[in-house]
């Protein structure tokens, strides 16, 4: 009986800690983790895993590799969190790590001509496609059109030059400010704006015939 009560008490305490962590901002969660609260790291993972996965996946185009890279991001965060400058934004730091890892991956790939972005895109199986993309209320031809359109969008993004794509995804998908993008990509503000403008124009230019 006492054992059950103790177990219930522990679970209630765990739940309160989790709730408290959920209510905190990133900086406070980081402080809690550095203060010895291991569960704070899980909270950071929960907050960033999907966002980072989408960012890395859109950058490199390989879902499996994107997951590996996101895991690597969290490992690095875990190892080096004590060195993180807490006067800066945690999200910017995490995205910087992810961006660098994605960049390295693309660089390694370019050295190996056998693995190309397009190849990876074509190998993407139908079963792997996210379910939310399909709208079951739509007619089959609509579904086909949507799927086709999505493929085109992904291929178009993949066609953008790497430094344009990176800035484009950070802005349009992640909603980062110009300043944050400049920090993440280690560029000045002018370069970010110019790259973003070019990326938007190129993307719109390529996609336009399919949209009209």
């Amino acid at each position: 009986m006492a054992d059950i009560v103790r177990k219930q008490k522990v679970s209630v305490e765990g739940a309160t800690v989790r709730e408290r962590l959920q209510a905190m901002d990133d900086s406070a969660v980081v402080t809690a983790f550095l203060g010895g609260e291991e569960r704070a790291f899980s909270e950071l993972v929960t907050r960033y895993q999907t966002r980072l996965l989408n960012f890395v996946y859109r950058t490199i185009g390989d879902r499996e590799k994107a997951e590996d890279l996101v895991q690597e991001v969290f490992i690095r965060v875990y190892r080096h969190l004590h060195r993180f400058d807490r006067s800066k934004k945690f999200s910017t730091w995490v995205y910087t790590i992810a961006s660098n890892l994605a960049k390295n991956e693309l660089r390694n790939r370019s050295r190996n001509p056998l693995v190309l972005f397009q190849t990876v895109q074509k190998n993407f199986q139908d079963e792997d496609r996210p379910l939310q993309f399909e709208d079951t209320t739509s007619r089959p031809d609509d579904m086909y059109r949507k799927r086709h359109l999505r493929e085109i969008v992904e291929e178009t993004v993949a066609k953008l030059p790497e430094h344009h794509r990176n800035v484009f995804i950070l802005r349009e998908l992640e909603g980062k400010s110009y300043e944050e993008i400049a920090e993440i990509t280690d560029c000045n503000l002018g370069t970010v704006k110019s790259r973003l403008n070019r990326a938007r124009n190129s993307f719109a230019e390529i996609i336009a015939p399919y949209v009209d």
């Binding site: 993972v45 996965l53 969008v153 993307f203 719109a204 230019e205 949209v211």
Partner: protein
Amino acid sequence: MDCREFCDQHLAFVDDTLAGIELVRMQRHILECEACASHDAKIRRALLLFRNLPSIEPSADFSQRLEARLRTCQNDNLFVTTQPNLRRSAIAATVASAIMLAYIGSTLFHSDAPRDLVMSPVVATVPEPELTPITTSTPAIVASVSAGLTIWPAALFAEQVPVRFAHSSLELANYTR
């Protein structure tokens, strides 16, 4: 506003970061220029398409794999934190033993070699002048001095009496001459 200016400002226009007056000028230009209006629509439509791409979710075993990797990382961290201490003490011990061996070696190696005799420097000093010891009078004389005087001056006086007498008798002899 001309089309060139419109294109230059278009990034801020799409992102809604233009100041009020600039925004009005851009909107007015769109109404006037069909090409720029078409360009604006094309960009906005493309962005809408991209922003609405479905989000992908991490696979089911993502968390488990991450936890396993973090556990390994924790163990590595423990190893890394204990490792520098061990390494530091090993280095200190090695250095200490090396110094000790060097010292022992040098003493053994140089023990047979002829050495120059090194003596402490001699410092010559002027000998202090010998002080004439104060001879005390016999207790009998000291005891005989009257109680009105201090004892030691009286004893000295008593001691020097013959000298003074001799001196005065010499002086007297000189005067009489």
